[in-house]
């Protein structure tokens, strides 16, 4: 098995601690950083698909995302100057009035693993704060809004509307959360919806690509 294949296998197996060493070995073997990153993003896609299919669970997905993050640390200095594998900046947060962050955190990790630079605004984020963050960051290609509670679903809708009405352009908006159905998502005016973290990463790349 080549070092590149080992990186992919260990990433998919959630062996987070082994990934950075293997990434270094893959570099030493002569692979370029861009190819390794691309392979890792593919592997995260595999993990996301398995999660959506119920073949792996959240801990395994979290460990893979941890491995990805550790591997990217090794690659980052070599990717300076902009990597074509990167898909831009994603602003993410849980909408105003909602303090729950597990779904948002999972989506953030998976979106990062798919090739986005993630700016996580945390929980209880007002529409104004989302807009400020879009203005304050370069190359924002995606804004991701999360809501867990039925009581905060209206905030999801008003936030998307405010972002869309801000006049800012160049990005897509994606929404999600436990009570959010495709039908409700459509009423918010968002460009996309995903039912779980794995498919959120796929949808994000599709919207931006």
């Amino acid at each position: 098995m080549s070092k590149m294949e080992e990186v992919k296998a260990m990433l998919e197996a959630g062996k987070a601690k082994l990934v950075p060493g293997l990434v270094q070995e893959a570099l030493d073997e002569g692979n370029d950083a861009q190819s390794i990153l691309k392979a890792m993003i593919e592997s995260m896609g595999v993990v996301g698909d398995k999660f959506s299919a119920g073949e792996v669970f959240i801990p395994e997905m979290l460990m893979a995302a941890k491995g990805m993050a550790k591997g990217v640390v090794v690659l980052k200095p070599l990717l300076a100057g902009g990597s074509t594998a990167y898909l831009g900046t994603c602003i993410i947060g849980t909408v105003e009035g909602d303090l729950h962050d597990i779904g948002k955190n999972l989506v953030a990790m998976m979106i990062e693993s798919a090739g986005f630079e993630v700016v996580d605004l945390g929980v209880d984020v007002s529409a104004a704060k989302f807009i400020e963050a879009i203005k304050a960051n370069n190359n924002v290609t995606l804004v991701a809004l999360s809501g867990l509670l039925t009581t905060t679903m209206p905030a999801l809708k008003t936030s998307v509307e405010a972002i869309k009405a801000s006049g800012l352009t160049g990005f897509k908006v994606i929404v999600g959360g436990a009570p959010i159905t495709p039908e409700f998502a459509a009423t918010t005016g968002a460009d996309g919806f995903a039912p779980d973290a794995g498919s959120a990463a796929v949808k994000a790349a599709e919207l931006v690509g």
Partner: protein
Amino acid sequence: MNQRENFQVMLDGGKPEFIPSYVELYNLGLMGTNNTDMPWQGGVDPFGVNWIATKEGTIPEPNKFLFDDIADWEKYVHFPDIDTLGIEHVAQIELPNFNREEQIVNVFSVCGLFERLAAFMGFENALCSLIEDPESCQEFFEAFADYKIACHNRFIDVYQPDVITYFDDLATANGLFMSPTVYRNVIKPSHKRIVEAVTSRGVIFAQHTCGKCQEIIEDYVELGARIWNAAQISNDLEGILEKYKGRLIVEGGWDTSGPVSYINASTEAVIAEAERCAKEYGQKGNYIFTPVLINENGNSLIVGDPRLAPMAEAWHKIDKL
């Protein structure tokens, strides 16, 4: 039959005279667990975790963790002395409201094994720990089970409940947080001790788990749980009601994430949901109707709601069996 007699028939697997509604069946003892595990109105619990009250429940303050590495749990977790928690005092406030002759006394015990681990170290850390360092997790769960057992014994002493409802949410809307194997290897051994300690004192064990957790319902039954609370419709409720009649009563059935639980759901929609629950689950005979109406102030059972009375009236008129 009164609520108590009817409940006993359901427990025994017989045909009840009526399908009970949660609010009419139980006298709830909530305040003991306020002191032992989670302050209902928010604030710091006896372990030092700060809880924040939201409209739909109280949660640990986000991103404020007691420790990051489960191997360190013994350095940070200090178990309180049960005698100092004031359980007797809060019980004295609740006990006079109970009608033991006709209703069932159900005492809540919130923040079970997994929820407590997540309260200490956050969901992501807790979930990773289950597969990264299962041995330390097991050690923690064993120690925490001792605490829960001590709390339950005290609840039983002072409240003399018929039922203890133990809360541990292990699932999302789509499935378990962790694989069934991880649950069985890492959490279940301590969970088993908690169930046995309650049932060995003649008290009925009710397991609360939200989300799609049907893969471990068999485990719950095997452990000795007689009631599954907050059964959500993402599970095969009709199949579960059929399979476990006489062994497990299903409490729930309300579409907690659907349009009927949006804050602006109409009274008609709420009545229609009660009718659906009656039709789809009531006839199985081991079902407790548990409406969850959410309004702008939170859960209607706690904050009140004008839709409750017409819904209850409609519920009583529906032919359920």
